[in-house]
Amino acid sequence: MVENLAKFCPGCGHPIVLMMLHRVLKQNNLEAQTVLGLDIGCSLLAWNYLPVNTFQTHHGRVVPTMVGFKRARKNSLSVAYVGDGGAYAIGWQSLFHAALRDEPIMVIVVNNTVYGMTGGQTAPTTLSGQITPTSPCGFEGVSLHGPEILRQVANKNAYIARTAVNDPKQMLDFIGEAIAAQQAGHFSLVEFLSFCPTNWRTAGMGTLKKLEEMRLVYPVGEIT
């Protein structure tokens, strides 16, 4: 068998999120009923790692695709996997309305504050002062708090939370809760604060330090 080599950059947070997702699916014997839809961006690289049905969609369009899928196959566990740009910029309209309508899909947002695949441009989640190719003098705008905004319109039984890729225990717990919310017929979203050393131009401790900066702006925990 040919080894399925990782295509993510060294130090990327995506493989951690995918590994945690798979662990929960496997533990709960949910692999067969899970369907993983991928947005475009670094998310698309997850297309052939997990032993679950997986397909790629378009940038910003994984949420409406999974809405359609779940409505047609109610017994599936429908997961939309998307970056912060796909979720909170180009796909925001659909994400917002999916939350508003309490669509029973699970959205995993990997927030690394930049557009990773295209070279680290400014995202809705970019931090104040952060230098990116499209904010060369430092970002001066507001950092979007997607989960907190969605909480305002979501059903009270929808599950919305934020965690970080350096907290395995919390990641596992939150993924489990998000799955439970879908099984109970509700929308769920977990945002993962994640690493992007390639575009952050960081290494080792610098990458961890940047994640700590993100935690100060984006508090982790269940959003109620």
Partner: protein, 343 residues
């Protein structure tokens, strides 16, 4: 037995008879009544936040193995190209009913034939889609049924390209034997018993090229089973009228009237715009007697572009055009136009 029906009711009836289970849509004139009529039918539906979500909702539903469709027009048709290019790439049997309206931009709200290019070649693809253009309410029924059947049989997205005049028309419709047409069943594109890893983006240029070559080969193979046209009075015609949709119906009436006056005129009406009935067009235009082929349409030449592109290059025929973008075309205008030709 004839039933009194509107075009909207015909589309809904055809979708119900095709065993369609769901619809995703966003209200836009002149297709709102299909959305509301479907909602009243008791079948599954979702009024989405925009046409982008409607199109991708249909893609998601068909991936799950459910027959599903959306309807739209003009600016909504533009937004639907996002999802339709995915459907084209992944060969998803998504079905779209378009009520053309005037354009560009928001234009007018009821009628035009200006969405031919968008329906046939919209998106960053190669036009590997099925596009049907009905000329009557009974044909609207037939082609809507065919769109679902052929989309699921051959796995290409399908568009029923009509307009607000047709959808708002109410007349006696005889569905006759068409109602008993057999349905091609839907199948799950992601079967439960195996794991599918389905890419839609490629790392190597050669990989994408190979997929496209295969899709094109399949498309060419099935084209003869799908291509349809109406030919009327073409056998000894000197003047050939080429028109589609309701302008095609008008052209047919003009041909009947002119023939009564002894004018040698015939009609070629493509019923499928993709795949285009190319061989039949070549046959009709290749007949030595044809002095002039007149392409008639409510557009500045969108059908004419397709016709000239599809016609075999060795066939030498002189073209003329009657073009009224965004306007209906009446029988008398066509008759007068042909009478003034110096043949």
């Amino acid at each position: 037995m004839k039933k009194l029906m509107t075009g909207y009711e015909v589309v809904i009836q055809a979708a119900l008879d095709a065993d369609v289970e769901s619809m995703f849509g966003y209200p836009i004139t002149p297709t709102c009544e299909i959305l509301s009529g479907w909602a009243a039918s008791g079948k599954k539906y979702l009024q989405t936040e925009d046409e982008i979500a409607a199109g991708f909702g249909v893609c998601g539903a068909v991936l799950a193995g459910e027959k599903s469709f959306t309807v739209s027009s003009g600016p909504g048709h533009i937004l639907l190209q996002d999802s339709f290019s995915m459907a084209e790439a992944m060969r998803l049997p998504a079905v779209l009913v378009i009520g053309q309206r005037g354009g560009p931009s928001s234009g007018t709200v009821i009628y035009s034939q200006q969405e031919v290019m968008l329906a046939c070649f919209g998106g960053n693809g190669e036009g590997l889609r099925l596009v049907y253009s009905p000329a009557s309410l009974s044909e609207l029924y037939l082609l809507t049924r065919r769109a679902f059947n052929e989309a699921w049989k051959y796995r290409y997205p399908a568009v029923v390209l009509t307009d607000g005049y047709m959808l708002k028309t109410r007349q006696g419709v005889d569905l006759g034997k068409m109602e008993k047409m057999e349905n091609i069943p839907s199948t799950s594109l992601l079967p439960d018993n195996k794991v599918v890893h389905w890419p839609n983006i490629y790392t190597a240029e050669e990989e994408l090229n190979a997929v496209l070559e295969d899709n094109k080969k399949d498309y060419e193979k099935i084209s003869s089973e799908i291509e349809s046209c109406e030919k009327f009075g073409t056998d000894n015609a000197k003047v050939l009228l080429i028109a589609h949709g309701i302008v095609g119906a008008v052209a047919r009436m003009a041909v009947e009237e002119l023939q009564k006056k002894g004018v040698k005129v015939g009609l070629f009406r493509p019923i499928t715009l993709r795949p285009f009935p190319k061989k039949e067009l070549d046959k009709v235009c290749g007949w030595k007697g044809i002095k002039k082929a007149i392409v008639i349409e409510s557009s500045f030449g969108q059908l004419a572009r397709v016709v000239r592109d599809q016609l075999a290059p060795e066939i030498d025929v002189s073209f003329g055009y009657l073009q009224k973008p965004g306007l209906g075309i009446e029988v008398e205008e066509v008759v007068d136009f042909v009478k003034k030709l110096k043949i």
